[in-house]
């Protein structure tokens, strides 16, 4: 009897392992990973029976590089920033994707045309457009609140600590825009030594008031703790803090820098077929629109735009909170992958040196 029980248990366990396929998806954690689990993972499992394991990382690019170089890949799908994805693709760390796996838009537009320009590359499919912008604590500025990126750098009119991401990217662009450079001239300006000088000089004006953050979860926390009165950060995180947690944060989209973020498949992913299936599933018009219910990042497909309705609380209109809404794009800069791929080593070195110099 006992033997039979053991045997049947073992068999059922075996059967389960055989039928239940599993893929591992690595992303950034926090509210963003939650939105992916709700919009992609759960429906995908419900439809295909393939379990999706969600793995968090500070920046998934680093562990993926390590896994591929060590020849021990455990992740099937990875969420990457655009610049990292392009670079890793060039270095052969990612699988090349056939655009044919992408479904056409709901209105029948071919996928390659339905996605925003540049959103699909050799190894990468963008799912969202996210923005680095700034937010302030409304209780600190009841009258004459800041409205432009120049106000962020104006500590005389708006006294108090500032927060910025520790790194050169985005900060230099914002500094130039605050200094009066038009968005479409920013990168041309940064190509010149004078432009770099000017950007660092502008950053220098508020260096003494700066608290540098590193993880995306930090800016809303710094604002909530009263450590800073204004900080740059990811718009989706500000939105979550303001809407779901009721914090008195107001976002300013003037001078925002936006870019793509999306999915890629690491070279040698263990469950290639299921990974492709997941990619197809999670980049449909509807799936991308669904994700926007959970976080205020713009879908990377044109056809998803009209389907975006209310936030999951059922009353907040998502449109005005998206970085891609027309009102928010009046003075906005698309991040240049080409610029940063060449210059990030040099400018980050310079940034680090600038940071530690007194």
């Amino acid at each position: 009897m006992k033997k039979l029980l053991v045997l049947s248990t073992a068999l059922s366990g075996f059967g389960l392992a055989a039928s239940a396929q599993e893929i591992a998806v690595m992303s950034w954690g926090g509210a963003y990973a939650t939105s992916q689990i709700e919009a992609y993972h759960k429906p995908f499992t419900a439809e295909t029976g393939i379990t999706v394991v969600s793995v968090d990382a500070d920046n998934p690019a680093a562990p993926i590089k390590a896994q591929v170089e060590a020849g021990n890949v455990t992740i099937d799908v990875v969420d990457l920033e655009y610049a990292d994805a392009v670079r890793m693709c060039d270095e052969g760390l990612l699988e090349v994707l056939d655009p044919a796996i992408l479904t056409p838009g709901a209105d029948g537009t071919p996928a390659t045309d339905d996605f925003l320009p540049g959103a699909v590359t050799d190894c990468f499919v963008a799912t969202i457009v996210f923005s680095t912008n700034f937010a302030y604590d409304a209780t600190k500025f009841p009258e004459n609140p800041p409205t432009t990126i120049a106000d962020f750098f104006d500590t005389a009119t708006y006294p108090g600590k500032r927060g910025m991401r520790k790194g050169a990217k985005v900060n230099l662009e914002m500094a130039l825009m605050a200094d009066g450079v038009a968005a479409d001239e920013v990168y041309a300006m940064l190509e010149t030594p004078e432009g770099v000088e000017r950007a660092f000089a502008k950053l220098g004006t508020i260096k003494a008031d700066m608290i540098w953050w590193e993880a995306g979860a930090q800016p809303p926390q710094l604002l909530a703790d009263g450590e800073v009165v204004m900080t740059t950060g990811y718009n989706g995180r500000f939105f979550s803090a303001a809407v779901t947690e009721g914090k008195p944060f107001v976002q300013v989209f003037d001078g925002q820098v936006y870019e793509y973020d999306g999915y890629a498949i690491p070279k040698g992913a263990p469950n290639m077929e299921a990974a492709l299936q997941f990619l197809t599933y999670s980049t449909t018009t509807q799936a991308l629109a669904d994700q926007a219910k959970w976080i205020a990042y713009g879908p990377a497909r044109v056809s998803s735009g009209p389907l975006v309705g209310l936030f999951m609380d059922g009353k907040t209109e998502m449109g005005p909170n998206m970085p891609t809404s027309a009102d928010n794009l009046t003075n906005a800069l698309p991040s240049s992958y080409e610029f940063w791929v060449d210059r990030d080593t040099e400018l980050n070195e310079r940034f680090n040196a600038w940071l530690t110099a007194n």
Partner: protein
């Protein structure tokens, strides 16, 4: 000693005529073999988890085949032609064919990244040219220059020559704020990009300061621990060990709660009227935060060796000194303190080495000015993905710690180290 064993003892024989030495060796062999088998798992563990990774790290710091492995023809051309040779048609042909292959193999990004480390702004030159590489037709010189005029830049060719050798000291140079000019001469980095040397210095100064504050705070506590009656010293010991049982992150974040501008300490001082609401002190996200939090975290590593040295020092030594005419200060300085030196040395070395390599705490509470060299190593491991530079920095840090260890051994003697 050796002479005696060779001549005199060598003559000794056992009763059955075998040389005594070999008889002894045979007798001991069995137990030696057993002892070796017992330590074998540990030895294997250390080799696999410690020796090999460190070897790899040191190798990675001087080895990067990103260029040579993916650009074989161009690399061969550099070998055949001495430095300073103006690139000829053969060179351009080699380059173009390599680029075609690299583009097909998706390795051109690796090549571009490698060159970009030495010469900023060249990565996209490789990747964009590679995208159109399939269309390159002879004559290749003209084709390449048409794709991008930068291919004619002698500086670029000089840099490519440098990186064509997989073995390179350039990462160590970079870690020391130096670089090579077009002619391969070692020159300092431009001033606005110099960072590592000053950061090494700062790391060692901060670690020294943290060690010193740990000593100042830890010495009296260790003394109390060693001299209080058992029931009180046990309680105190638990308080000392309590941080050990708490997660490092929890401890660090609790310092954030305490020290931030709207934190407990500032709020209390404002409430007591010591400082005004506008005059809240910035105690975290700067050097002070790093010092405070790390002193707290590393304090037990100072206290425990001190305690283990102080505990067995009987009070009679100080009494003897006093009876011999020494004031209490002289008795402390001349008699008590010197006897605690092994503990002071062990604690200081331990705290200093840990502090020099600390990473999480400065990352969380250090802000911009409280960053240590490990934070930049982490930056290159995780963000810039320049692992060779990270390895070079780590190797320098390792070397510096070994040098310190050696100096300590020469000054104090490592056998004087007492950890507990």
């Amino acid at each position: 000693m050796a002479d005696i064993s060779a001549s005199d003892v060598g003559l000794l024989k056992t009763s059955d005529g075998r040389p005594l030495k070999s008889a002894l060796a045979t007798a001991q062999q069995r137990s030696k073999r057993r002892a070796f088998l017992l330590v074998l798992p540990l030895l294997a563990f250390i080799i696999i988890t410690f020796i090999i990774p460190i070897g790899q790290l040191l190798h990675q710091a001087v080895y990067n085949d990103g260029f040579s492995a993916n650009m074989p023809r161009t690399t061969a051309w550099f070998v055949e032609n001495p430095p300073g040779t103006v690139p000829d048609d053969i060179a351009f042909e080699a380059l173009a064919l390599d680029l075609k292959d690299a583009a097909a193999a998706r390795t051109v990004g690796v090549v571009g990244t490698r060159v970009n480390y030495e010469m900023s702004g060249t990565r996209s030159l490789f990747t964009s040219t590679a995208r159109g590489a399939a269309r390159l037709e002879p004559p290749y010189r003209e084709a390449l220059l048409e794709a991008d005029a930068k291919w004619a830049d002698p500086n670029l060719w000089g840099t490519m020559r440098q990186v064509s050798d997989a073995y390179s000291a350039n990462f160590f140079l970079a870690a020391l704020d130096m670089t090579r000019d077009v002619n391969g001469k070692i020159v300092p980095m431009p001033e606005e990009r110099q960072i590592y040397v000053s950061l090494f210095v700062k790391t060692f100064l901060l670690a020294g300061l943290i060690t010193f504050t740990c000593f100042l705070l830890g010495f009296p506590i260790a003394h109390l621990l060693a001299t209080l009656p058992m029931k009180w010293s046990n309680l105190l010991m638990i308080l000392v060990l309590l941080p050990f049982w708490t997660s490092l992150l929890v401890r660090t974040t609790s310092w954030m709660v305490l020290l931030q501008q709207q934190g407990v300490v500032n709020n209390t001082m404002v409430a007591l009227g010591i400082i005004s609401d506008d005059g809240r002190i910035q105690m975290i996200y700067n050097q002070m935060g790093t010092i405070i939090a790390m002193t707290h975290i590393l304090l037990p590593f100072m206290i425990l060796p001190l305690y283990s040295v102080m505990r067995p020092i009987p009070p009679t030594y100080v009494r003897a000194a006093r009876s011999l005419g020494a004031t209490s200060w002289t008795a402390f300085r001349r008699v008590y303190l010197p006897q605690t030196l092994p503990g002071v040395g062990a604690g200081s070395l331990l705290v200093f080495i840990l502090a020099v390599g600390y990473y999480i705490t400065p990352a969380l509470v250090g802000g911009a000015s409280g960053q240590l060299i490990s934070n930049l190593i982490a930056f290159h491991m995780q963000s810039s993905l320049n692992w060779s530079l990270a390895s070079a920095l780590a190797a320098l840090l390792l070397g510096a710690v070994l040098v310190l260890y050696w100096i300590y051994d020469r000054l104090v003697g490592i056998d004087n180290l007492k950890l507990g």
